[in-house]
């Protein structure tokens, strides 16, 4: 709790200390280098990608109908305005005229329809159907019993209407997906879209044109001179791959202008002088997922015992040096739906953990490892490498588990290799984190039918609450539903939640035009401000 206070104070002091400089005239030109520690996978398709780092590329190459601003509110982008019908079942978007894709072809309602129709297509291989399954006729189209989707209606070239067959609270904020150029993709069968060459050479209508992607080196973009909302101030944007250990050197030598640093680098980086740091609560959480398809993890007592047996407070306080808040449910403090009421904090209690395990029938074997019916409580823990803090967390977890008689075998793996294993469900446990969308709707991650439900969690109450939450348009009632849902998850613990993200953005002081009082998306509002920033000499 104290640490939390310290962070809040820090946030406050920092926001005071960064005085917004008087109106300066933007300078054109220059190269902005955005540091990342993980490679994208090369799926630069807004409706098919699943990794955050592919999303980085998509963010600047494509524009969506709307975008979510720093205060988490939807703002017009490709759509200059929208209209929601009184019963909340219909949204009509009015598009700007004259927006062009990077190849010069104009973006129309046809492209918007193509983008969303593809998500609903029977052969669609991505994971986003659940986000739009409430559109009128979507399910029938998906099942192949209907050839069109009445819920997506092109009124004219610049007007498109979406209608739903039931109220759907998160609907508006789901229209941020980058709009795909139909004229380049419509001829490819939807089932083969996953392997299309296009995904590696994306063409959108966004502020930057994709130039090249070299694994372990960089992704390069050039300014879209014809960008509808005005040419970006910088000429070139580079996502520079940096290894975690060399971040401070890269910052010091001005080889990157911005990067999210890890807590153990905070002091060192703040000492650099020409680098400003911003601390903000992010819409993210990290977790250790259990594979609930395995009998041992199917027992809630085992999951709770493991959680009691892991000193997460120590992890946050010492390994993360206080940057983070221990999480007990998958709803970050930065979200309006967060609640702490009725949430069991699972304070570190190895004795209780041991008791729970012995009540669940696990008894120590000759080697001290717990056993039940001849099966040892021993499992593999998949840890993506690249982050020192995650590695330290894994070592602490291993040791804490050993103390209560559980043997954990660490398996360090390159991030995308780890993702492949998780996708194939070939894991016992793994750790990763989720960056969340602005709407708290947990459907795509936690509903039993969702493809992102990696642990394989199924709980009737949880499913019902998630469905209710989508239907409820009254904010207060919705909040109640999600509070109930958090309590269900908090008891069931399909994953052990580690911490809510507190991020630190480090940015070179030559970068102007940033959000000096950052919300959950940081000083560049995700990557939205990249086309507005400029570089002072």
């Amino acid at each position: 709790m104290k640490k939390q206070l310290v962070i809040v104070l820090l946030l406050f002091v920092l926001s005071l200390s960064v005085v917004v400089s008087a109106q300066e005239v933007p300078v054109l030109g220059g190269t902005f280098r955005y540091g990342t520690t993980v490679n994208p996978r090369g799926m630069f398709n807004p409706i098919l990608y699943t990794e955050t780092y592919d999303g980085y590329v998509i963010d600047v190459v494509y524009d969506g109908l709307i975008e979510i601003d720093a205060n988490l509110q939807p703002q017009p982008k490709v759509a200059k305005a929208w209209e929601v019908s009184e019963d909340g079942l219909e949204i009509t978007f009015y598009l700007h005229e004259g927006i062009r894709f990077h190849d010069g072809v104009e973006l129309t309602a046809e492209d918007v329809a193509y983008t969303y129709m593809t998500i609903l297509h029977p052969d669609y291989t991505g994971v986003r159907f659940g986000t739009f399954n409430m559109l009128v006729g979507a399910q029938e189209y998906k099942d192949g019993t209907q050839a069109t989707v009445p819920g997506i209606e092109i009124i004219d070239d610049y007007t498109i209407k979406f209608s739903t067959n039931r109220p759907h609270a998160p609907l508006l904020s789901s229209f941020g997906y980058g709009i795909l150029p139909a004229h380049l993709l419509a001829h490819i069968p939807v089932g083969e879209l996953e392997t299309a060459e296009f995904n590696l050479h994306p063409i959108g209508s966004g502020p930057f044109k994709f130039v090249e992607f070299l694994t372990d080196q960089h992704v390069t973009f050039e300014a879209n001179e014809e960008y509808f909302f005005g040419r970006p101030n910088i000429d070139t944007l580079v996502y520079q791959k940096v290894s975690q250990d060399t971040i401070p050197i890269f910052l010091q030598q001005n080889r990157i202008d911005f990067i999210e640093i890890s807590p153990d680098q905070f002091l060192q980086v703040s000492d650099l002088g020409h680098i400003d740091t911003y601390i903000y609560e992010a819409l993210s959480y990290s977790y250790i997922a259990f594979n609930l398809r395995q009998e041992r993890f199917d027992d809630v007592a085992v999951r709770q015992a493991i959680t009691y047996g892991f000193d997460r407070q120590l992890y946050v306080d010492l390994i993360r040096e206080g940057f983070g808040i221990v999480a007990n449910a998958p709803m970050p403090t930065a979200s309006w739906a967060y609640t702490s009421e009725g949430i069991d904090p699972y304070h570190y209690d190895p004795k209780k953990a041991a008791e729970m395990l012995s009540e669940a029938g696990w008894t120590p074997g000759s080697d001290g490892i717990l056993q039940k019916d001849g099966e040892r409580l021993e499992f593999e823990f998949l840890v993506p490498d690249g982050s020192r803090l995650t590695e330290q967390m894994a070592l602490l977890f291993q040791q804490n588990m050993e103390d209560i008689g559980i043997k954990v075998n660490l398996m360090f793996m390159e991030f995308s290799a780890a993702v492949d294993r998780v996708d194939a469900r070939e894991f016992d446990t793994f750790t990763m984190s989720w960056s969340l969308a602005v709407d708290p709707d947990p459907y795509s991650i936690w509903h039993s039918t969702s493809l992102w439900n990696d642990p394989g969690f199924y709980n009737e109450a949880s499913d019902r609450l998630i469905e209710q939450g989508r239907l409820e348009t009254d904010l207060e009632k919705r909040k109640e539903i999600y509070a109930d849902w958090q309590r269900v998850i908090n008891y069931e613990l399909p994953s052990m939640f580690l911490n809510y993200g507190v991020a630190i953005g480090a940015i070179n002081e030559r970068v102007k035009g940033i959000d000096a009082d950052p919300g959950p998306y940081g000083p560049l509002v995700g990557r939205q401000l990249l086309w507005k920033i400029w570089l002072a000499d």
Binding site: D245, I249, D264, Q265, L318, D385, E391, L395, Q399
Partner: protein, 286 residues
């Protein structure tokens, strides 16, 4: 004149080489210290204590603690066990493959020779470290994989060495005599010829241990050798990689660094000493 056995002669020659003796003493010291590690420290090398992280050397922690609060003195001692055993086992593996294949190639010649030596050439033509990294990332890092990889990748040098010895020795009188009285080939190879080819093999094995220790350190440094939490000198160096540790916490990387340096150097001294001692030409100088 008193008759002195061959091995005593060699030992005497070895003793005259001061560097070799120094190397041997240091080597024995390291082996003893690793073997008796549990008696020299009360700390569990894998046991972290986050409340004591990054402590400089003190009475409690002779070499300080690392970023997980583990005692570096203990980790250096136990790391020695792993580094030394990886060195010995991998050389053992490479020797057993190399001896058999080299002996067969040299003794039988012909097709055997051609095939085995071409395979050896193939192994030689790959850059060692890159191949090791590739194999290790396919099979996953573990102590045993490291031993096996290092062993399998380094057999060609002992095979070549032994083949050359066999080519030379198989036509000597004693080998021909053994064959003539009807000893079967494997008896001739391993009972008669091999003991006479042992000295160059011993030298190369000794030096092989040193290079295996270095390779293990390299692989572990890259995170592909001995996986955490078990300590090895290489992965201790790996953990000390971040800039602020390099710059301001030398106790994290000096002990494993010095240990690797000293042990590789002393093994090389011993190897050189052995080579000189075995060399019959040295006799002339006596």
């Amino acid at each position: 004149m008193k008759q002195i056995s061959q091995s005593k002669k060699i030992w005497r020659r070895f003793c005259r080489n001061k560097l070799a003796i120094l190397g041997l003493v240091i080597l024995i010291f390291f082996v003893l210290v690793s073997v008796f590690a549990p008696f020299l420290t009360n700390y569990d090398p894998n046991r972290s204590n986050l409340r004591n992280r990054n402590l400089p050397p003190s009475g409690d922690h002779l070499f300080g603690t690392d970023d997980m609060g583990r005692d570096i003195f203990a980790r250096t001692l136990y790391g020695g066990r792993i580094s030394l055993s990886v060195g010995l086992v991998s050389v053992g593996i490479s020797l057993s493959i190399g001896v058999v294949l080299g002996a067969v190639a040299g003794f039988f010649g012909g097709m055997f020779d051609t095939v085995i030596m071409r395979i050896a050439d193939v192994f030689y033509s790959f850059p060692f470290m890159i191949l090791a990294i590739t194999i290790s990332s396919i099979f996953g890092p573990s102590i045993y994989n490291t031993m096996i990889i290092l062993g399998i990748l380094s057999w060609p040098s002992s095979a070549r060495l032994l083949r050359a010895e066999f080519l030379k020795l198989k036509n000597t009188d004693f080998a021909l005599a053994a064959t003539t009285i009807g000893a079967n080939p494997s008896r001739v190879m391993f009972r008669h010829i091999l003991p006479n080819a042992i000295s160059p093999l011993l030298v190369s094995a000794t030096l092989g241990v040193a290079s295996a220790i270095l390779s293990e350190a390299g692989l572990s440094f890259l995170g592909l050798g001995v996986p955490p939490p078990a300590p090895s000198w290489g992965n201790m160096l790996n953990r000390a990689r971040p800039l602020h540790i390099l710059a301001s916490m030398p106790w994290m990387w000096l002990p494993p660094g010095i240990a690797i340096f000293v042990i590789v150097l002393s093994i090389n001294f011993v190897g050189d000493g052995l080579r000189d001692a075995f060399d019959p030409r040295q006799v002339m100088n006596e």
